[in-house]
């Protein structure tokens, strides 16, 4: 895998960027609910149970944003692209200020291709590794095969919450200096280059949309 730094306008591998996503999906903000069932696959009971579970998880993790998107994606739309765009342009209803999109864990189910994915914001990405996410998906696989999508999403969230809990306990033991050193180490994974203009551009787009 090639390094991706904040200076890069596009992915070194596939050439994808926020600009290209904006060209494709639009630069406007979209309103999302925590459980956004665009495909109408979930029954009300399942949705209620899932919302209750998310409520519990949000109490446990006041900073984290848990949301799910179920849809029938067109063939020219990749789940990873959708996840990336939704996290940068979506506004989840009911999400407090303390839960920005960079703290979001977004589960996407494509009912057409029978695929499930997890998009992570920057902050969530620093807490959850790809291995943890993959294990969570694998644990939900039996539910997905049985078309128990509500339970599957809940299982994924709960599994990721266990990871967050372990990670939080470890971080709690660290001193302030150690936390700063860790934060610095996370940022040093990218190249030390000047600030990218894309976030500013994004804000400008948002302001223009409003």
């Amino acid at each position: 895998m090639r390094p991706v730094d904040h200076e890069a306008e596009s992915c070194y591998s596939c050439g994808y960027s926020a600009l290209k996503a904006a060209e494709k999906f639009g630069s406007n903000q979209v309103a999302l609910s925590r459980v956004h069932d665009a495909a109408h696959w979930l029954r009300k009971q399942e949705k209620d149970v899932l919302n209750t579970a998310i409520d519990q998880l949000e109490v446990k993790f006041p900073q984290m944003l848990f949301c799910a998107y179920l849809g029938l994606l067109p063939e020219n739309l990749k789940m990873s692209e959708l996840g990336f765009w939704l996290l940068n342009h979506g506004q989840v209803k009911g999400a407090e200020y303390a839960r920005p999109n960079e703290n979001a864990i977004l589960v996407i189910l494509d009912m057409k291709t029978k695929q499930v994915g997890i998009s992570l914001g920057y902050f969530a990405e620093s807490l959850i590794t790809q291995e943890d996410g993959y294990r969570a998906l694998m644990k939900a696989r039996p539910n997905l095969l049985n078309a128990e999508y509500g339970e599957a999403i809940e299982t994924i969230f709960r599994r990721l919450c266990k990871v967050l809990e372990k990670r939080g306990k470890k971080l709690r033991k660290l001193s302030h200096e150690e936390l700063q050193a860790q934060s610095k180490a996370l940022n040093e994974n990218t190249l030390d280059l000047p600030q990218h203009f894309a976030p500013m551009l994004g804000r400008w787009w948002r302001l223009r949309a409003v």
């Binding site: 993790f61 996290l87 997890i118 998906l137 696989r141 095969l145 860790q182 996370l186 940022n187 894309a198």
Partner: protein, 383 residues
């Protein structure tokens, strides 16, 4: 000229002197003048060792014979060798006739068996007149002295260690207990205050041996128990033909059996009696605490009931299975707890830091993990 001549003449004279001198050489003495000695220094009977000088001196030496011995002979007519205690008194030397070493492994020949008198009169008083002082009652000295002492020591040792006392009464093989003597009554009279077994042994006839127990002991356990003790003792006695050895082996076996008899009485008592009376001798229940030693020394005296054994095996198997099930249950609980996504406790706050954005994304840099759950598509995708 003078000097060589003198030298030659001195040599001649010296040589002639040597030749003329007579050497004092030792001479062999006549056989009749040789000093007679006995090979072995008198430790063994004269004539036992094949020594020529001793053979010669044997004719003049005094004879050593066994006290009170007759003159037993081999089947070919030659006299037997006697290796027992010797005495200078007596007629002829029994060791003279056999110098070939035959019969060295034979035990000491018992004195000639005389017809033993019936137990009557003074002899009757010696046996039954008074309560015995020693644990071995042998007024006729029918056993060898050494064995008698060994048996006495053993019986004394047993009496110190056990609650059951053993008294051994030895009578001749042709002798009988007088009809006027009731051994059970005698036992009650002599040993009423302590648990005692009186073993009446007939010399070289262990099958005639009688065992007399206290009435209390008799009533505590069933008859087959005592019969089995008797059989075990007789079996030990039959292992040898020598009377002192028979008494010794039977006494040892009786001691062992009495130890377990005491254990059985303490452990089972009347309940065991009722059970053993209801069953045959081969189905006697085992004592609850009978250890392996019991099976080693008396494997046939206390046979474990087959049904009890089967039940114990079943209980053991059931216990093992229960332990396995319990262990499996605990493992399952642990696995379930580990897999359960239970989130408890209070709110968890993470420290904030500001990661630098990527790909122009304000909130997400495109981190994505996906997997297919289509049955026909088993491949999964990881970015």
């Amino acid at each position: 000229m003078k000097r060589p001549f003198l030298t030659a003449s001195s040599l001649v004279l010296f040589t002639a002197g040597i030749i003329a001198a007579e050497a004092d050489l030792p001479e062999w003495s006549d056989a009749t003048d040789a000093e007679a000695y006995t090979l072995g220094g008198g430790l063994w009977p004269i004539g036992l060792l094949p020594d020529g000088a001793a053979e010669a001196a044997r004719e003049d030496s005094p004879a050593m014979v066994a006290e009170g011995a007759s003159t037993p002979t081999n089947p070919d007519g030659s006299p037997l060798t006697f290796y027992g205690p010797l005495t200078s008194a007596g007629g002829e030397n029994l060791g003279v006739g056999n110098t070939t070493g035959e019969g060295l492994d034979e035990p000491a020949q018992a004195p000639a068996i005389e017809a033993l008198p019936p137990i009557d009169g003074e002899l009757r008083n010696l046996y039954f007149g008074y309560p015995p002082v020693d644990y071995l009652i042998d007024p006729q000295r029918l056993l060898t002295e050494q064995k008698s002492n060994d048996i006495k020591r053993f019986l004394e040792f047993h009496s110190d260690e056990s609650d059951f006392k053993i008294f051994v009464m030895v009578i001749g093989e042709t002798q009988e207990i007088p009809e006027s003597v009731d051994l059970q009554e005698l036992h009650r009279e002599w040993f009423s205050e302590q648990t005692t077994v009186l073993m009446v042994y007939h010399r070289e006839h262990p099958d005639l041996t009688e065992f007399v127990y206290n009435e209390g002991v008799r009533s505590a356990l069933s008859q087959p128990v005592f019969e089995r003790i008797r059989q075990n003792c007789l079996r030990e006695g039959a292992a040898t033909e020598f009377a002192p050895d028979q008494v010794e082996k039977m006494a040892i076996e009786l001691s062992i059996q009495l130890y377990w008899l005491g254990r059985l009485m303490n452990a089972e008592g009347a309940e065991a009696k009722a059970l053993s009376e209801a069953e045959s001798v081969f189905d006697l229940p085992a004592s609850a605490d009978a250890p392996e030693l019991l099976r080693e020394y008396a494997p046939s005296i206390f046979l474990q009931e087959s049904s009890q054994r089967a039940i114990s095996i079943l209980i053991t198997i059931a216990g093992i299975l229960a332990c396995l099930v319990l262990a499996a249950f605990l493992v399952l609980i642990i696995i379930w707890l580990r897999n359960m996504d239970r989130i408890g406790g209070g709110p968890l706050i993470f420290p904030n830091w500001e990661p630098k954005p990527r790909l122009g994304g304000e909130f997400s840099g495109g981190g994505f993990i996906s997997m297919s759950f289509d049955i026909n598509d088993t491949s999964s995708e990881k970015p």
